[in-house]
Amino acid sequence: MVSTAQQDEAFAAFVRSESDALLKTGYLLTRNGPDAEELVQDTLVWLYPRWAQVQAAEYRLAYVRKAMVNRFLAGKRRKAATELYLEDAPAGLADQLESTPDRTAEVDERDLMWRELGVLSDRQRAAVVLRFFHDLPDEEVAGVLDCRVGTVRSLISRALSALRMTGTFADDSVGSYYLRNVGP
């Protein structure tokens, strides 16, 4: 039997060691710092009274990440009406780009891709982050998103179709695999 003190200690240790990783995921999902902080805080505070369940999980970080993604998708993070944050990506940059083919072009593509990621639906973005940032296989992404593997592939293929418009890319087997499987 785990005592409350031990559980608190385990919770605190987890918070200290994994907050950075969770914030990175949260930032990629929400695309701004204050929302990422709120999402992570909200998730961890929500899980605190349920920490025994988390401890029983095989991979605690994966469990917490799933809870966080679900809270993000369910929109349970109630943004404080009074909270301020700045716009993340300055608008209109693309209009000002020069066509000079120097190294800046590479950065421009990255800016465009980051902005295009913001245009994706929350579920598409969550699938993309889990698949291409965390390198999770489709089956695990499906587990996190509580959907079928086919749905995950469809989400990713649609997302990649949109992201492909942001630049010129070499072919690769992973991208081609998803892009071939665009759903109706």
Partner: protein, 392 residues
């Protein structure tokens, strides 16, 4: 060769994940709402943490909290009543108005502010010193306050605090909105966590506009970004403000936008001829672009490469206010960095001629390579400043 789409996507996600907030505030916030509340419960919650705690506490604990709140309320009413009986009504009314208005506006950033909670009887939170980082390696430089009045005549003050490292490089900035009379902080327009480098702040009509640079780590370790304007609309009575969408003003200069010149500075005493050089960058494109900080000057000599030391200023000039500023170069505008010999008291070292000089900018990469030339053996370089003199 182009990267594949999925490689590029992975790379973009990885680089942007580095923009995530620092974990320390989140760790503190979570632990203060969970573990420490279970054991200590002696810290006044902020409005937001209180709301969160209420949402997640078990009913039995909530009942205790409600009972405690009722008791505190009864006690508070008793204290207020006793205070009213001994004070003039006008004084009491003024205090309550003042704290009320500050409280409502400061609630806008309650979740972000690290200050104490603002309960109904709390005093207005005065502008706290901005803490640039925990280990004290950054210094805070507070600029001159910008004062203005709202449509209803309320006096407000905007204060910009720039954090900088020892060499004057900007690290992050905070812009606070204060009550112009009481100096109570009404809200944080730009928090440190945004990692913005402020160019300047101005007021137009009912808007406060912050022009700031946002840099991020780009390919091969260079910083890429843009200068944008972040407008905040202030309500007529000054009690609320709202962030409006940012608009880009200038993106970081590219190598092709800049004309680079390295010229010997005029030998004006006490300068020794050949001891001072001007590195001048001119925007030759039809669009504005931005630079910031120090150029990297790498001198190859005797088969070895050495970088010029980056210092704020020296005998020949440099940054006069101790900061490496964001510089927006409009078409045709120059910015200049001074290179000068290190001021050493020892006899001048002898060294062979420079076989090559590479000049790089963090936001641009390599911008120029100079072949040959007699350069001082020990060089220092100062930050870019607007204009052609290298000082300002």
């Amino acid at each position: 060769m182009n990267k594949s789409l999925t490689e590029e996507l992975h790379s973009v996600l990885l680089s942007h994940s580095l923009d995530a907030p620092e974990p320390a505030p989140t760790i503190d916030a979570v632990l203060s709402r969970t573990v420490s509340t279970a054991t200590e419960n002696n810290t006044a919650p902020t409005a937001r943490t209180g709301a969160l705690r209420n949402r997640f506490w078990r009913p039995s604990v909530r009942l205790v909290a409600v009972a405690a709140s009722v008791a505190a309320l009864v006690l508070g009413v008793a204290v207020i009543n006793s205070g009213r009986s001994s004070n003039k009504a006008s004084t009491s009314s003024a205090f309550s108005n003042s704290s009320g208005s500050a409280g409502s506006a400061s609630g806008k950033t309650a979740g972000r502010s690290a200050g104490p909670a603002q309960g109904p009887s709390a005093r207005p939170q005065l502008h706290p010193a901005v803490r640039c980082d925990a280990d004290g390696s950054s210094l805070a430089v507070t600029g001159a306050p910008l004062r203005f009045s709202t449509a209803s005549g309320r006096l407000l003050t905007v204060v910009t605090t720039r954090c900088k490292s020892a060499d004057g490089s900007q690290q992050a900035s905070e812009v606070d909105l204060l009550d112009g009379v009481s100096a109570a902080r009404l809200g944080i327009l730009v928090p440190l966590s945004r990692q913005l480098h402020i160019d300047f702040v101005y007021v137009t009509g009912d808007r406060i506009v912050v022009r700031a640079a946002s840099w991020q780590l780009g390919p091969r370790g260079s910083n890429q970004g843009a200068v944008s304007e972040y407008p905040f609309e202030v309500s007529p009575d000054g009690s609320a403000f709202i962030a409006r969408p940012a608009t880009s003003y200038a993106r970081s200069c590219t190598a092709s936008q800049l004309r680079t010149e390295l010229v010997a500075a005029p030998a004006v005493p006490p300068r020794t001829p050949g001891s001072t050089f001007l590195l001048r960058l001119t925007n030759r494109s039809p669009q504005p672009c931005a630079v910031e900080g120090y150029p990297d000057v790498i001198v190859e000599r005797d088969g070895e490469a050495g970088a010029a030391r980056q210092t704020l200023s020296g005998a020949a000039g440099g940054s006069q206010d101790g900061l490496a500023h964001v510089i927006v170069l409009n078409p045709g505008d120059p910015a200049t960095a001074l290179l000068e010999a290190e001021s050493t008291s020892a006899a001048p070292r002898s060294c062979g001629p420079a076989t090559g000089v590479t000049i790089e900018l963090p936001s641009v990469g390599a911008i120029a390579t100079v072949r040959g030339g007699q350069l001082p053996c020990v060089l220092q370089v100062h930050p870019l400043v607007p204009g052609i003199s290298g000082s300002g």
